[in-house]
């Protein structure tokens, strides 16, 4: 496919879409589906039948998962749309009857609230608008423009330059500069290279990658193809967890469609560039999100990490140079290429460019998915966009970064959200999970919960993580039961230090973070649970068991 063919197709699809007087989009992402969106779509479809004036189609995540199922209605020639919340199949008649007429007040979900107004969408720009199961919808929304343009008009080095200019950093959690990683793989000699998309999202409460894959899978494919072109790879893998059946289904459909259109496969756009993508399913191991464990799993081995260096960029899949990027990182690539790296660099803060997708969960009014520019404050996210804590309860802490992150109390809410600031105060950006807690949450329980998660997910390879997470969990459980002593607390702190310094991979190295951050910001909660809180701290080294 060439650029003019692509444009022609885009125009054709756009015209067809504009032929409809009304477009009704039903959110068909996993969250809305679980509250009955499929029945809504079915009912609307059966009632409109072959009617030419009304287009009904499924769409990706519209963000406000708390109000699902969501239905969005737009009218030809009018920019503003109407969003309906908590829609059931029985509402279909009512909904269709009101097309072009007054808004149904009982279902209306106002979109001028900060939840929608304060967001800035790049990764999610098509999410909730296009039908993720139709490649034509993506193409009509400027999809694959960047790939075709890059393949026909740009050199791999020029693609790399745009990514470098954008200042994009890895969205998987580490925040490593994307262009630097790409350049390392690009510079490695050898004919065979791989690109991997890490979609093994495993943090409790995080669903950003799932939403992107479910809502706009072609964007990830285009991002991977652009990455492959820039680094000289010809084969790609998407490593997605098997617990995301809908994402897998839509991605499979998307890959098939892109291959059919000649946007994947051999000699794409009649150039020498060939690229195909295979899906690999993770079998429910959190550690497989770690890049070396992920590669071992793709190779068919046991999913456990190996020492780095060598880094995957030097020696990855089957020993070949391999580029591994997170879903959200790759989803940022097409708009960066389309609009230029300089445009992307205008968004965000000095060292963290662009936007970040966050999954809001826990004790927060507007549970759901948001995309905000880097540098926004935590207070804006939790209170303005998230609507604060429900039931007039008081905010206590926000947990970012999942089991590798930390809990931040109220005093840090005015800090700008970027990679470096969050790290300074004892948490991390992570992949974007954000769990809000109110005064009823015990911070010792929170730490114990995350430690239990790490203990269960430890692969068992290195001793500090395997045995250390177990011991820390036992100590936390003991303290939470009110049976802990000052000695236990001191031992816990010592274990935190050893496990984070000595573990083999990121899982073990960051496993103590929830404990360390709660100890740093909520130490008194630990102290009141200690049995001997009134006596002076006993020395750590008091002999307990003789060997």
């Amino acid at each position: 496919m060439q650029l003019d063919e692509l444009n022609e197709l885009a125009t054709k699809v756009q015209q067809a879409q504009q032929a409809c007087d009304h477009v009704v989009r039903v959110c068909m992402a996993a969250s809305c589906q679980s509250s009955g969106a499929a029945a809504v779509l079915e009912s609307l479809r059966s009632k409109t039948g072959d009617c030419q004036h009304v287009c009904v189609h499924g769409a990706g995540c519209m963000g406000l998962c708390a109000a699902g199922p969501l239905v969005e209605v737009s009218q030809r020639g009018r920019a503003e749309t109407v969003l309906y919340q908590h829609v059931t199949a029985d509402d279909a008649d009512d909904l269709l009857a009101h097309l072009g007429g007054p808004v149904i007040q009982r279902l209306h979900c106002p979109t001028d609230i900060p939840f929608f107004a304060r967001q800035q969408k790049i990764v999610l720009e098509n999410s909730g608008i296009i039908d993720p199961e139709q490649i034509d919808h993506y193409i009509a929304a400027e999809g694959y423009q960047a790939l075709v343009t890059a393949l026909t008009e740009m050199s791999p080095a020029e693609v790399l330059r745009e990514v470098d200019a954008s200042g994009l950093r890895g969205r998987g959690g580490g925040g490593y500069p994307a262009a630097l990683k790409w350049a390392t793989v690009a510079k490695m000699p050898g004919e065979q290279k791989f690109v991997i998309c890490n979609a093994d999202e495993g943090d409790p409460g995080a669903f950003m990658d799932r939403a992107v894959l479910e809502s706009d899978p072609h964007r990830v494919i285009e991002g991977m193809a652009l990455a492959a072109y820039a680094v000289g790879a010809s084969h790609g893998f998407v490593y997605v967890r098997a617990e995301y059946p809908l994402a897998i289904e839509r991605l499979t459909t998307a890959i098939r469609q892109a291959t059919k259109y000649g946007l994947l496969g051999s000699n794409i756009c009649d150039t020498r560039f060939s690229f195909d993508i295979e899906i690999r399913l993770g079998a429910g191991a959190f550690v497989c999100g770690e890049e070396t464990a992920l590669m071992a799993s793709i190779e068919g081995g046991r999913g456990q990490p190996r020492p780095r260096p060598p880094y995957p960029a030097q020696s990855g899949l089957w020993g070949y140079p391999t580029l591994i990027n997170n879903v959200e990182t790759l989803a940022n690539i097409p708009p960066i290429l389309r609009r230029g790296g300089a445009w992307f660099a205008t968004i965000g803060t000095e060292k963290s460019k662009g936007t970040k997708v966050f999954a809001l969960a826990g004790r927060i009014c507007n549970t759901g998915l948001i995309e905000v520019p880097m540098g926004i404050t935590l207070r804006d996210i939790v209170f303005t966009i998230g609507g604060g804590v429900p039931d007039a309860a008081r905010f206590k802490a926000v947990q970012t970064g999942g089991p590798s992150g930390g809990c931040l109390p109220e005093q840090f809410l005015d800090l700008p959200v970027d990679y470096d600031t969050l790290r300074q105060v004892g948490s991390i950006m992570g992949s974007g999970g954000m769990i809000v807690m109110d005064q009823t949450s015990s911070m010792v329980d929170v730490a114990r919960y995350f430690m239990e998660f790490c203990m269960d997910e430890s692969c068992g390879k290195c001793i500090p993580c395997r045995a250390g997470t177990h011991q820390m969990h036992e100590l936390l459980a003991k303290i939470a039961r009110g049976q802990g002593t000052c000695r236990d607390l001191a031992l816990l702190e010592e274990l935190c230090e050893v496990v984070s310094a000595m573990s083999l991979c990121g899982l073990g190295q960051t496993a103590p973070n929830p404990v360390l951050s709660t100890l740093r910001h909520f130490r008194e909660e630990y102290l009141v649970k200690l049995q001997d809180r009134d006596t002076a701290a006993a020395p750590v080294d008091a002999p307990e068991t003789a060997s």
Binding site: A285, G460, A501, L504, S547
Partner: protein
């Protein structure tokens, strides 16, 4: 197995270990260089002649200056490196790791066939473990004595995977492997069949010779009687990996 570069490409570098100037080929690891120079770095999973596993974390060393910790077994020597092997911090961390091992499974030395010849016991002495501060787990693991000549006692296993690697890389049988994860991790024969029923085991006993503790032993040994001899490994490893 860390691949050795071909002779023409090899460069020699100089580095400092504990303030001592030493030279190394750049394809050598810090641990290899240290051993050549008689500098002892504690280790458990590492065995010369097998692939690097990097799991026991006892051979972690510190870079002077930025205080970064790296595993000596999997980090190559580089020009100008300044390595410290026994800082206070490292001693403290190593001691904790050995304690964690002792608390993880049943390592009661007095009744163990490897008493007196046990690498874990030696490590405890070396790292100054005179008592264990973390609570013992007291989990019970089974003993598989189904093999004609050998026995595996999972209560003594430290999961160093020497058996797994020597069986795969030297004997070529791949009888041993790992199953489960975290604390449920365990070495298994074939697909978790009793060792005696294993179709792939050749009975060569290399795994038994390399086991650092009393987990893999010959039948008929009593407390303190298990002697091991791993002298075969350097020669066989060289032959196996000769290009």
């Amino acid at each position: 197995m860390m691949k050795q570069a071909t002779a023409s490409q090899i460069r020699v570098v100089t580095l400092k270990i504990n303030d001592r100037d030493v030279t190394a080929r750049e394809d050598e690891t810090i641990l290899q260089v240290a051993r050549e120079n008689g500098i002892r770095i504690p280790s458990l999973c590492y065995v010369e002649g097998l692939s690097v596993w990097g799991a026991c974390r006892l051979c972690m060393v510190e870079f002077a200056g930025d205080h970064r910790l790296v595993a000596a077994c999997s980090t190559r020597a580089a020009e100008g490196m300044e390595v410290l092997t026994h800082t206070d911090r490292l001693r403290r961390y190593r001691r904790m790791i050995v304690e964690l091992l002792f608390a993880e499974r049943n390592h009661v030395c007095a009744v163990c066939v490897s008493n007196g010849r046990c690498e874990l016991q030696n490590l405890a002495t070396e790292c100054g473990v005179d008592h264990v501060r973390v609570p013992y787990r007291t989990a019970v693991y089974h003993v598989d004595a189904s093999h004609d000549w050998f026995r595996v006692d999972h209560n003594r296993c430290v999961l160093c995977t020497r058996c797994v690697r020597v069986c795969d890389e030297i004997e070529g049988a791949h009888t041993w492997d790992l199953m489960g994860r975290g604390m449920n991790c365990q070495v298994i024969t074939d697909l978790h069949k009793p060792w005696g029923e294993s179709k792939s085991c050749t009975g060569c006993g290399k795994c038994v010779q390399l086991c650092p503790t009393g987990a893999l032993v010959r039948h008929g040994t009593s407390a303190g009687e298990m002697e091991r001899d791993a002298d075969f490994l350097p020669y066989l490893s060289r032959m196996r990996h000769a290009e």
